[in-house]
């Protein structure tokens, strides 16, 4: 049992977290303007259309930026330090924050990463690892 926060799904996000449990990473594509968005929401932030289709990402991304956390925000993360928090670009320029599960000194901006999963109290949480390693 981890004390790390487990995502608490909302109306908007319940389906996303459910499909994570099947090992799939879904994002929404606006049926009007084509804008792809993450996180899940009932309104397109680009054009305010309220209809969308779900598309599944292939799990490949690249590191837009990262930081090595030495001082944990809460007790639950203390034993993990130092760990990597990254912004990863996926799909058509969406940005996702997650950990890169690698030795911090191996990580650089621009690195290719691929999706992996962490079981957090029964919820599959998307994470990344360095690709081709």
């Amino acid at each position: 049992m981890s004390d790390k926060p487990v995502p608490r799904p909302s109306e908007d996000t319940a389906e996303f977290w459910d499909t994570c449990n099947d090992g799939r990473f879904l994002v929404q594509r606006c049926t009007d303007c084509g804008h792809e968005r993450f996180y899940p929401a009932a309104v397109c932030p680009n054009c305010w259309n309220t209809e969308w289709e779900d598309i599944e990402l292939d799990g490949n991304g690249s590191i837009e930026s990262f930081t090595i956390v030495h001082r944990a925000p809460t007790e639950a993360f203390e034993e993990e330090t130092p760990y990597v928090v990254a912004l990863v670009t996926m799909g058509s320029d969406m940005t996702v924050m997650a950990n890169v599960l690698a030795e911090p000194e191996e990580v650089s901006v621009g690195d290719a990463v691929e999706l992996t999963w962490e079981d957090r109290d029964g919820q599959q949480l998307y994470q990344f690892e360095l690709a081709n390693r």
Partner: protein, 390 residues
């Protein structure tokens, strides 16, 4: 000014003044709660303006993380026994007092009120020790579902910006550290505020790494403190001893969460700055001194770029080559900022007033135009203020 049916409308052209500034004691003040700090700053600001309690007909306050109130400004109104025509509790993170001055100026120009106190503070140094404050701050800033499960510290969110700035523009750790060194130099010159012991770049880089590339000495102080200013109408200002003019102001607001930025290195400071400069009919070249929100060392670098003092990506180079000390091209944070004076942005506004008044003591520069800029969230909310002589 325009005339309609024989009535002269001053409207948006009325001059607006900052007539008074005040601050509470600063540091670890276990005997003062958040409202005590607000009250101390408000009383001093009104006294500084040469006004009386009954002259105050407007109030804008921020909030308290340590001691939250549903209607914060109304609680302060109650505590100080005020009767108001304008009353606003504002919650825009570090941009709160800066945006508060914008709102107060608008209310004054609308004729809704004559003298508005804008105040901001909290007892975080004492309060965070007692409870779970730092944790609650940490979990309030990031997205609860899509950021916080991954354990970013608040500094991590700014560190992500700093890291990209370094990768994309070649910004160095030394350039970032120079921001902290300069703030400390100014606080040391003035001998006021929380941290006045001079430091050098090596000290900054040798301090504990919090979230790379940001070290402990690159993170704002956490303080018990409050600051306040009085924003007054042109007519009211004439009766006060040392008004300065708020010649321009503007706001720019974007996404709350860092993973939602279209451009990680681009901030809405560009919009708030443009609005303020257009209102004042000034350009960045005209600015003599800038008080730039400095929650972390990366913040002033981005603000130098987005407010138009240099090209995007050149913030580090600006600090290194042109200089932000009192003898540099653009003196920045002449009071010491949040990195050295006190952990609240409201003091940037007070310092801009002091520079225009000629009251900035050892760090006084030759200042006809002073800029103060505040940031809330992760460079999410922005407000820019421009001040000149009355």
């Amino acid at each position: 000014m325009w005339v309609c049916d024989g009535i002269t409308h001053m409207g948006s052209t009325q001059q607006v003044a900052v007539t008074g500034i005040g601050e509470s004691p600063i540091g670890s003040l276990p005997d003062m709660d958040s409202i005590n700090l607000y009250a101390a700053a408000c009383l001093e600001a009104v006294d500084d303006a040469g006004l009386e309690k009954d002259d105050i007909d407007g109030l804008v306050t921020g909030y308290s993380l340590v001691d939250p109130k549903l209607m914060h400004s109304t609680v302060v109104t109650d505590y100080l026994g005020l009767n108001l025509a304008y009353n606003e509790s504002l919650r825009l993170g570090g941009a709160t007092p800066f945006a508060g001055v914008c709102h107060a100026a608008n209310a004054v120009r609308q004729g809704q009120c004559e003298n508005v106190i804008v105040a901001f503070g909290d007892n975080r140094q004492t309060g965070f020790k007692k409870g779970d404050g730092v944790s609650s701050l940490a979990t309030e800033v990031g997205h609860p579902e899509f950021e916080n499960p991954f354990g970013p510290m608040v500094p991590s969110l700014y560190a992500l910006i700093a890291q990209k700035h370094m990768a994309e523009h070649g910004t160095t750790a030394e350039e970032l550290a120079t921001v902290a060194v300069t703030c400390r130099e100014h606080a040391a010159m003035r001998g006021a505020g929380q941290q006045t012991e001079p430091i050098d770049v090596n000290d900054v880089l040798a301090s504990d790494m919090i979230s790379s590339p940001l070290h402990k000495l690159e993170c704002a102080l956490i303080s018990d403190c409050a600051g306040a200013v009085v924003v007054s109408s042109s007519e009211a200002a004439e009766e006060t001893p040392s008004p300065i003019e708020l010649t321009g102001y503007g706001e720019g607001h974007g996404s709350e969460y860092i993973h939602r930025r279209d451009e990680l290195l681009q901030t809405p400071a560009a919009e708030s700055g443009t609005t303020a400069f257009e209102m004042a009919d000034r350009t960045p070249d005209d600015v003599d001194v800038a008080q730039l929100y400095d929650c972390f060392t990366i913040t002033p670098l981005l603000l130098l770029e987005d407010l138009g003092f240099c090209e995007k990506g050149d913030g580090g180079q600006f600090v290194r080559e042109r200089g932000i000390t009192t003898d540099g091209d653009l003196p920045v944070n002449t009071h010491g900022g949040e990195l050295s004076y006190a952990g609240a942005g409201v003091f940037h506004i007070l310092e801009a007033v002091r520079q225009i008044r000629g009251d900035a003591a050892e760090t006084q520069v030759d200042a006809d135009l002073a800029l103060a800029h505040g940031v809330g969230g992760v460079l999410s909310t922005n407000a820019t203020l421009l001040m000149e002589g009355w």
